[in-house]
Symmetry: C2
Subunit: 403 residues, 2 copies
């Protein structure tokens, strides 16, 4: 289907990048601005020297394969590593035939959407949700219906109501898109009992869950580390997406998805038409980083890196936030979502915040029902704890002054 860019712009991009924000974009990366804007891993967590050494080694040793075309599904050795990892996460029967490597999880979201959705089908998504996910669903012609979240994630009673409404309107609910761990943009985690309820809804209603789990390994406490992936509870109704972007390097564009075998086969065919295969060198490097234990050995450091920054942010908010302001308490990941009094609009406040030396992303574009004008996505992944304290104080001062 032709992607309707005029509609897309009016639905998402206009709120995602209104001219007011677009003109400020260069400021978000200005060195004198403390930025809570980007959602990328900190460059301080990248194992540059190790990957430099590995890159020359894998090209010298296996150049004839890593510089050549490779299988659409991904390099078998890496697919096998992913299968082993999934088994360790409770997907006991995970096999290579269910796994497809993708050019980042964004490609996984796009391919899944293209396979699953007919124009007009309804996809249920969290309020708020990741814009890359909702755009992929939208590009396949889906109608997006938002489901409320509270501090324990998607509200299952609201999900049931939305499904009933959709069916009553004669439309077809097809899938539920969720980021259960340390969600982008909210930092919310889906509670254990909600996971059971959510897969029950999917089974009862015969809906497919798209479980997007890029931050899985970036947990800050043991309990969060033990939360079961939805795909481990009900593999037949869940497509699970994971990535090496947050635990190794996003520039290597290597992610994976696990789907029921028949769906995986269709996704493989779709990927063949979409890019033949992902980068062979990137896959070989990721495999080498797994094989040698580099990824595993660095995880404790990476978790501590982001945990420290998250604590700095929530502490700073406790110290400085204006009355009426609330914020989430992430148990992993990169993001806090802050909500202010109703009358404050995050988009309108941005120029003054940047003037005061601090940047963020307004939360509204993440809400498919266009609510959330008074929400702020605050990424703690980029700045030092000291900068986080300084930036949060500056932002709260602006809110108190102008809001």
């Amino acid at each position: 289907m032709k992607i309707d860019y005029e509609e897309l712009m009016s639905t998402f991009a206009a709120s995602l990048r209104p001219n007011a924000i677009r003109s400020l974009m260069p400021l978000l990366v200005r060195p004198d601005i403390i930025s809570f804007g980007g959602g990328a891993p900190s460059s301080e967590t990248l194992p540059i020297e190790e990957l430099a050494e590995m890159a020359s080694r894998v090209i010298r040793d296996r150049g004839r394969s890593v510089l050549q075309y490779g299988p659409t599904r991904g390099q078998p050795a890496l697919v096998q590593e992913v299968a082993l990892y999934l088994r360790s996460r409770g997907m006991k029967d995970a096999t290579p035939s269910e796994i497809i490597l993708t050019t980042g999880s964004q490609q996984g979201l796009d391919l899944v959407s293209r396979i699953v959705l007919d124009p007009g089908d309804v996809a249920l998504v969290e309020l708020p949700s990741y814009v890359g996910g909702t755009i992929a669903l939208h590009n396949s012609g889906a109608r997006l219906v938002g489901v409320q979240q509270d501090q324990d994630g998607m509200v299952i009673s609201d999900l049931r109501e939305r499904i009933d409404e959709v069916r009553a309107e004669g439309r077809r609910p097809k899938c539920i898109y969720t980021i259960p761990n340390f969600q982008n943009p909210s930092g919310i985690t889906l509670a254990a009992e909600r996971r059971q309820e959510l897969v029950r809804v999917a089974e009862e209603q015969d809906l497919l869950i798209i479980e997007d789990d890029p931050y899985a390994e970036l947990y800050f406490d043991d309990e969060a580390s033990r939360l079961a992936p939805l795909a481990s509870l009900c593999p037949s109704h869940v497509i699970y997406l994971g990535t090496f972007s947050k635990v190794l390097a996003p520039g290597l564009r290597t992610a994976w998805l696990r789907a029921p075998k028949e769906i995986a086969a269709k996704i493989e065919t779709a990927k063949e038409g979409a890019d033949l295969s992902s980068s062979q060198l990137d896959q070989a490097l990721v495999y080498e980083a797994l094989r040698t234990g580099l990824v595993e050995s660095r995880l404790p450091m990476i978790r501590e890196f982001y945990r420290t920054r998250c604590m700095a942010m929530t502490e700073a908010l406790e110290n400085h936030a204006a009355s009426g302001t609330t914020w989430t308490r992430p148990r992993g990941g990169f993001f806090v979502l802050m909500e202010t009094d109703r009358q404050i609009e995050a988009t309108k406040l941005l120029p003054a915040a940047i003037e005061a030396g601090v940047a963020y992303v307004p939360g509204q574009p993440f809400f498919v029902d266009s609510s959330g004008a008074n929400t702020f996505r605050l990424a703690f992944s980029k700045e030092s704890p000291e900068n986080i304290h300084t930036g949060i104080k500056a932002l709260c001062d602006v809110i108190k002054r102008i809001g």
Copy 2:
């Protein structure tokens, strides 16, 4: 739109990979089989040592950017190099704003199809044409209409007739997909005067030409090197796709497209939803290989490598072909298309050919009208000249014996 895999399989994949062939696939890469099957560059042309050294260097020097997320449109330095190259190919006004880097040209074909086509629109394609291109068009809901080729490429009078027919049926012709140089699978080159006529048709009929030019630099004679890209004749009606896969390394998955600025902007948005960006490391490596002159310096060797193999194949065919057999005389690229007497079916002959130690790809899947059962795609890119002589003799013997 949901990609209809049942239909896709029946339209293409069934002919592309009938069970009879699928079971033989492992044989196509068996070391004791002389294979004219694959369409990949020879691994002998890969600059392994140079790329190994460059990879460690670019990661050490620029790890914080090449291992990080990067712009959807591609790394600016590489986009600029592509713009300079396009200007040298006659696209005098080529600017970075018209260029998008893609995860191989396959992604370019997919994104262009998603932007340009509404379901039911007609795409005109050569008979035969590259399957990856026709699948991408099909995945966006296009109806594919074949246009005859002769030894000078697309027959313009046939193109005009097909367009008239399509319009008479009340359908909308939207684009013309062409591989003007050393086409896959036929090896045919579009003659200079035909290029003028083709862009005239596109202008008159307001159709977009999708010019897929992966083999551009792999010419075997000076005259072929001077043929003008269609995009240089009529930039407003042509989307041009080029790649580093054939002149550097296909595993690096780095290609580009040039489109009128407004279309390029839409493709950038589509790419954001499709994979955020292509591999940053691959782009950095390709840029380094261009910047240091590695790509340029190796082109004469690469052209001679394939020219020698092409000559071996056409000589062997002259020596051994059965009467009634014809074949194309490529002026570049990787492929000869051989056509036998009507009663011979390339698919049915394959088991006997493999028994005799030689493999090829049956030509029929490349014909969107399902003609071409008696055609054989013979890639000369993989085997040595000696093996090519041996393999062609063996194949011709099988045809004489069984055909």
